[in-house]
Amino acid sequence: MQGDEFQEDTISVSERIAAEALIVDVGAFEGPLDLLLTLSRTQKVDLRQISILALAEQYLAFVEKAKQLRLELAADYLVMAAWLAFLKSRLLLPPDPSEEGPTGEELAAHLAFQLERLEAMRDSAAKLMARDQLGRDFFPRGVTEDVQRVRRVTYTATLLDLMQGYARIRTRDDFRPFVMDRQHVMTMEQALERMRNLIGFAGNWTDISSYLPDGWDSDPQRSRSTTAATFAASLELAKEGKIEIRQGETFAPIQIRKKAPRDE
């Protein structure tokens, strides 16, 4: 930084011009580092040879100018300004051996590194985007055939399974546990349901046996079940007051009829 004093004047002119141009769209900068990088370009030297001291002054001039123009600068610009002012003082003053922490040169070197790195990343980004790109310069296959996942399920059974299955059905009665055979049973609920639908038409005394469903009289078991269920249902209906029920004598046919409303 030998030539700093000499440079200071020339830069202060160009820096002001630059700052004034920059100040117009401070919003376009992505923060202080971005601004610093832009400012550093006005030095027209390789970033590795940049004068951080000059850059700090450029930046401080920029902030000063912004203040004059009563521009609202975001806090981080002011933080950077403060930090650069501190850096500047460190760079200008002879190092105090008693002082702790990094020297001005170290801090300046790091800032230079940061600027160089940011610039390098920007260049790289540009190079990357300049590459041939998929879907723009080169293309994938237009017709894709996805791999079909064919899931085939095969079922197996052995001859033994088959024979045992058959035997199981044919010999079921041999070891059949006692269960009500629902197929041949009519429950009272079923009979009740049936009779509720029919009873509306029974104004005259009718034999209860005429309420038995068709086709249930051939099989004795079914006949018994349905007779019992129908009888029980009749009693239930009588209890509900829906019908009247009578039997002339023991074993005589049981007759029912709809109970007329307000009959008694």
Binding site: G142, L162, Y166, P177, D181
Partner: protein
């Protein structure tokens, strides 16, 4: 992006090799089959895509993909003999459900048999899925209609069934007595088979969902 320099004339067509490359790239990248007209429209002036196509077609002869004609357009397609590479088959083996085995057994032993007969023997209604499954497996098929009222269809077992079970004829199936004497009969009801009729009845509703087909 076109940075092919035109050497002599503005409209000189690229060499045929180049045209072939172009056709190749276009056919590769386009989702739809491409007509010669499309190609003419897309390639530089003076190109002869039809000829380029012919070259390209030749080049792909015997390769893993071919240049094929689709209507009046052209496309690159997988060679037919390599279609198997485009499928990944996973085979899952499941045990046939009990309902299916029993139905199958009834058909095998009593064929020709109607659905109503199967139901009578099994004591529960036979779900459609069960019959369908057995037909799909090509183990049973439709036989003659029965000469009874309603002329119901019957089911019989197929040659595939006989092959699978190593039978020459369904009549070769051992009878009940033979099964018993061979010790093949289960003497006890299988666990969980108590109130057999009822349990199965309940399942009948689920049948439609085909749960019966998949027995773990």
């Amino acid at each position: 992006m076109s940075d092919k320099p035109d050497n002599d004339s503005l409209f000189e067509a690229p060499p045929m090799g180049e045209q072939e490359r172009m056709v190749e790239a276009i056919m590769f990248a386009t989702a739809e089959p491409v007509t010669v007209k499309d190609l003419i429209g897309r390639m530089p002036h003076g190109c002869d895509p039809a000829e380029a196509l012919a070259h390209l077609r030749k080049r792909y002869e015997g390769r893993g993909v071919h240049v094929v004609k689709v209507g009046d357009a052209w496309a690159i397609r997988t060679a037919a003999d390599l279609g198997f590479l485009m499928q990944k088959e996973t085979v899952e083996t499941r045990k046939l459900s009990r309902a299916a085995i029993e139905t199958l057994a009834i058909v095998a032993y009593q064929q020709p048999v109607t659905r109503a007969e199967i139901e009578e023997i099994r004591g529960v209604s036979v779900s459609r899925g069960t019959i369908d499954q057995l037909i799909e497996m090509e183990w049973i098929r439709f036989g003659r209609r029965k000469m009874t009222p309603g002329r119901p269809v019957t089911f019989v077992v197929t040659q595939g069934f006989l092959d699978h079970f190593g039978l020459e004829n369904a009549r070769d199936l051992p009878g009940l007595k033979e099964l018993r004497s061979a010790g093949l009969l289960e003497n006890r009801p299988p666990p969980g088979a108590v109130a057999l009729g009822e349990a199965e009845d309940e399942n009948d509703d689920d049948d439609e969902d085909q749960t019966e087909l998949f027995e773990e």
